[in-house]
């Protein structure tokens, strides 16, 4: 078995809701509520969910941009939140990088491309400008950006090019893990495929691990080895990508897959299969009792509204649903 790069154990993030002059805490937003998963070297884990599911919060926790309420995150066996600031800076930061959704806001508009891409090197090493810029040239070359663009500013590039530049920056220190937060959803259809192929190529070239945050299942299927489906702060299904797409177990996973399938209006059979969920995701301030999905589930029974389901292993997947008790 491949080496586990990162492991999340029962990760929780609750935000206090305060009210009034004295900032009295009147409730908690349960953004992330007990999430566990692991990523292996050279593999991709995708965390899929709708907006408000808590997937970006998890990503930010891994990147230490957000604190943990409880639980732990282990990077190569070491608990991140027990590392000293110096350890974080020397042992963790250089190995984990981040590609954000929006290539228009992820770069300082007042920095030139060579400084944008070179920043991780400037911050973490003591090289001269000249050697850093040579390095930047190589990085840009790897992602298919002409090195003539080095002295230009981010706004002079198109969305697809900017996303390539963002990837170059993430690769600057030869990381082992990249967190890709909706890496293609802000891009045009014809550009998405280019970028997704680039990610695949880089993964096989550098044996990179990816955690992909996404809402589009088709993108996820193409890229990932394992998939975690998130709903209202919790994982509802988690496991091997092939198995999960072949045989989705959780009703929510099935609805998501149905919503992402390409169905032509004339395909009557396709239409019959389509699952359309009613209602919207409830507020994480007051999650429903029992199974969190029961308010929208077409197969819910009495038990679902009363008892909280456990995560169970079924075949190659884990699922949190009473139907598999």
């Amino acid at each position: 078995m491949a080496k586990v790069i990162l492991e999340a154990r029962d990760v929780v993030k609750h935000y206090p809701v305060t009210k009034g002059l004295l900032q009295r805490t009147v409730g908690w937003v349960r953004a992330v509520d007990g999430v566990s998963f692991s990523v292996e070297q050279g593999k991709t884990l995708s965390i899929v969910g709708e907006s408000g599911a808590g997937k970006t919060t998890v990503a930010r926790q891994i990147l230490l941009l957000e604190k943990l309420t409880s639980g732990s995150i282990l990077f190569e066996g070491t608990d991140l939140y027990k590392m000293s600031p110096a350890q974080v800076k020397d042992d963790y930061r250089p190995k984990v990088h981040y590609v954000q959704q929006n290539p228009w806001s992820s770069m300082n508009p007042r920095m030139r491309i060579r400084d944008v891409v070179g920043e991780p090197i400037f911050v973490n090493t003591k090289q001269t400008k000249k050697t850093v810029y040579t390095e930047v040239g190589k990085l840009l070359d790897q992602v298919g950006i002409d090195t003539d663009g080095m002295t230009r500013y981010p706004h002079e590039f198109s969305g697809g090019q900017r996303q390539r530049i963002a990837v170059a920056r993430a690769l600057a220190l030869n990381p082992t893990l990249l967190i890709l937060d909706e890496p293609v959803s802000a891009l045009d259809v014809s550009i998405r495929a280019q970028i997704m192929n680039l990610f695949k190529d880089l993964q096989s070239k550098f044996d990179l691990s990816y955690i992909v945050i996404a809402h589009n299942l088709a993108t996820v299927r193409y890229m990932s080895h394992s998939v975690a489906i998130m709903y209202l702060g919790q994982l509802v299904e988690y496991g091997d990508s092939e198995a999960l797409f072949e045989r989705p177990l959780h009703p929510y996973t099935r609805a998501l897959i149905s919503a992402s399938q390409l169905t032509l209006p004339e395909d009557s059979e396709g239409k019959a299969q389509q699952i359309i969920l009613t209602g919207e995701m409830p507020s994480p301030l007051n999650p429903p009792s029992g199974c969190r999905f029961h308010t929208r589930c077409t197969e819910a029974s009495d038990k679902c509204s009363k008892d909280v389901p456990e995560m169970r292993k079924v075949g190659k997947q884990m699922v949190k649903c009473h139907h598999y008790d």
């Binding site: 800076k89 992820s106 920043e119 911050v123």
Partner: protein
Amino acid sequence: MLNTITTTAKTKKKKQYRGISRATRVMRNLALWIPTVVMAFMIVLAIFSPWIAPHDPTVGKITDRYLPPAFMEGGKTDYLLGTDQLGRDILSRLIYGARISLSVSLLAIAITASIGTVLGIIAGYGGGRTDAIVMRVVDVALSFPGLLLAMLLAVAIGPGFWTVVFALSLLGWAGYARMIRGEAMRLSQSDFVAQARVNGASGWRIMTRHIFPNIINSLIVLMTLQVGMMILAEAALSYLGIGISVPTPSWGSMVSDGRANLDNAWWISAFPGAAIGLVVLSGNFLGDWIRDKLDPRLRQL
């Protein structure tokens, strides 16, 4: 028929467009050159006032009191812009006044902007307790009666040039701090700052390389707007007798000198008032232009 309609529409629209574009271009150039010339002129006046001014600004001739400007009936060519209630030459006072008014306001702006920016960025980026402490001090500074503070200062260290600069600085920094803190807070939430943190950048680097350069725009706009306010504030202090000592002219004190005689000798207030207006306007135009130049996104346009 439809064809002809569309073609005439085409030519008409194109002409309209070209006209607008030329007008815009001319306006843009004027917006740069007029304020630059005005500002340069004022600065030259300020530096070389002893050589330029035709009369001594502090000594008047009692016999030449309330003389109107030369171009009006009863005016003397000796006093191009007329004289004030003590018979002093307004033109000369205006030229010398540029010295005091410009240096007081520019100095005060430099000091307030520096203090306000540093504190604002620290509060906005630091957040939490740092933010709370800085902002409470700002609240106190903003709620303190400014004139009272200035008077206390004058009593403590005596009136004069530095007292004015000091008093204006004490009053002005909080406004900057509050605005810059808001901007810094917004930028701290931005994607590229998150990215910098992931890259391992230190707080110092984030504040100086990522937040500060993106604040310059608003800072410059605020600074240029303050030129006028500072000149006027200096006038108020001078009027209360805690500013620049009496015979030395400053534009603000000249405006207040003429207030009692607005109906029969309007020129005493009007010319320094116009000078203030001109400087303020030029400052705003220049500020806009600099802001556009500093922004790489607008530089190409």
